[in-house]
């Protein structure tokens, strides 16, 4: 994993602000389509995740770390199964704080 650049916590809304940059987010897997996973972001938008490690089961939560290559798409480098018990609302709140008032702690 390239550790030279920090990864930004994003939700669906924030993803478009970080095009071309490394981001991290959590989505709930809706379906697998060939080489891509369609997931629902923490703010209820649909995101497409392309790349390896598509072995996360549907309805599980998946953390995606990768590069934002579209307003609703991520080219994933690492996907992690976060299980079936994850608080999306809190994570969404964290994304907003980490990009807003407390950006200096993260980026």
């Amino acid at each position: 994993m390239d550790t030279s650049s920090p990864t930004v916590f994003v939700n669906g809304e924030l993803l478009k602000l970080y095009m071309g940059r490394r981001v991290r987010t959590v989505v709930q897997v809706i379906r697998n389509e060939g080489g891509a996973v369609v997931g629902q972001s923490t703010d209820n938008q649909q995101l497409t995740v392309k790349g390896p490690n598509q072995s996360v089961p549907v309805m599980h939560f998946m953390e995606v770390i990768g590069v934002a290559d579209g307003p609703q798409s991520i080219r994933a480098e690492i996907c992690t199964d976060f299980g079936s018990n994850f608080d999306m609302a809190s994570y969404n709140g964290l994304c907003k704080l980490a990009n807003g008032q407390f950006k200096n702690l993260f980026l």
Binding site: M1, T3, G83, Y91, L94
Partner: protein, 265 residues
């Protein structure tokens, strides 16, 4: 040597005897490093970015200052990379998305080695350890490293970092007339300080100046406004204002009756 207690590391500190037991109550203590007396250890949850930007006080003693606090211990959460196992220690790189830092975990008994065998590359872990610097480079000496099992812990950790940051930076700007925990209570007290210990009045006067509404006003507040708000004698309020001007908390603006807080909230 004590018999080994395998209960997740908490008693590891009791057994080793090298740390007061209150330091292990980390999740609660993390955000509330309110009592910064020398007898209490503080554990602060941090992002690695905060560590890399921390102000390094003294090259020899490796003391760092973060938000005005010198943490005895830090709590970090991130992914393990480049794990390397050696005879006396295990080291790895911890990456939490805000940066990365080298971590070393000294293994002196089977409890330690068992703890570290469970850790693998790519895994999320929480660690408690001491922040150190060597030849300009910062790294962590870990006391405990545990895998993250519930991923909500990730969200929680970063929330705790934000919370501790807010807590500590707020305390850094408060007048240290009494212990920090007392400051909070006094700010909210309605003024029944008939006894009027000068410390109380000063704090309350300062808190009025530090309200966001007061900070927003270009010329600050007039002395009479403070008098009217607090309902105290003019003489006592002027004394408090004089004190704060002297220590640098407030300054006069357009004339000797208008003052504004020097801290930017």
């Amino acid at each position: 040597m004590y018999a080994n207690h395998y209960d997740g590391g908490a008693s590891h500190f009791h057994g080793g005897g090298f740390m007061p037991s209150q330091a292990t109550q980390t999740p609660d203590q993390a955000g509330s490093s309110k009592t910064r007396s020398s007898t209490t250890s503080t554990t602060v949850p941090l992002t690695i970015k905060q560590i890399t930007e921390a102000f390094h006080l003294n090259d020899e003693r490796a003391d760092f200052l973060i938000d005005g606090v010198e943490p005895s211990l830090v709590k970090l959460l991130g992914r393990v990379l480049n794990k390397a196992e050696r005879v006396t220690d295990v080291s790895f790189l911890l990456d939490d998305g805000t940066g990365s830092i080298e971590v070393t975990r000294w293994v002196s008994d089977s409890f330690d080695t068992d703890e570290m065998t469970k850790i693998e590359n790519g895994m999320y872990v929480v660690l408690i350890g001491k922040l150190k610097a060597f030849q300009g480079k910062r790294h962590i000496g870990a006391h405990a490293v545990r895998p993250v099992q519930d991923f909500n812990q990730i969200t929680l950790h970063f929330m705790e970092c934000i919370h501790a940051h807010l807590d500590n930076s707020r305390k850094a700007t408060a007048v240290p007339a009494t212990t920090s925990a007392m400051n909070d209570m006094r700010a909210y007290q309605t003024l029944n300080v008939g006894t009027g210990a000068s410390g109380d009045i000063r704090e309350v006067v300062l808190s009025v100046f530090q309200e966001p509404a007061s900070l927003a006003r270009e010329n600050g507040l007039h002395v009479n406004e403070i008098i009217r708000r607090l309902g105290l004698q003019e003489q006592k309020i002027r004394e408090a204002i004089e004190y704060h001007v002297e220590v640098g908390n407030i300054y006069s603006t357009i004339d000797d009756d208008h003052y504004k807080s020097a801290c930017n909230g």
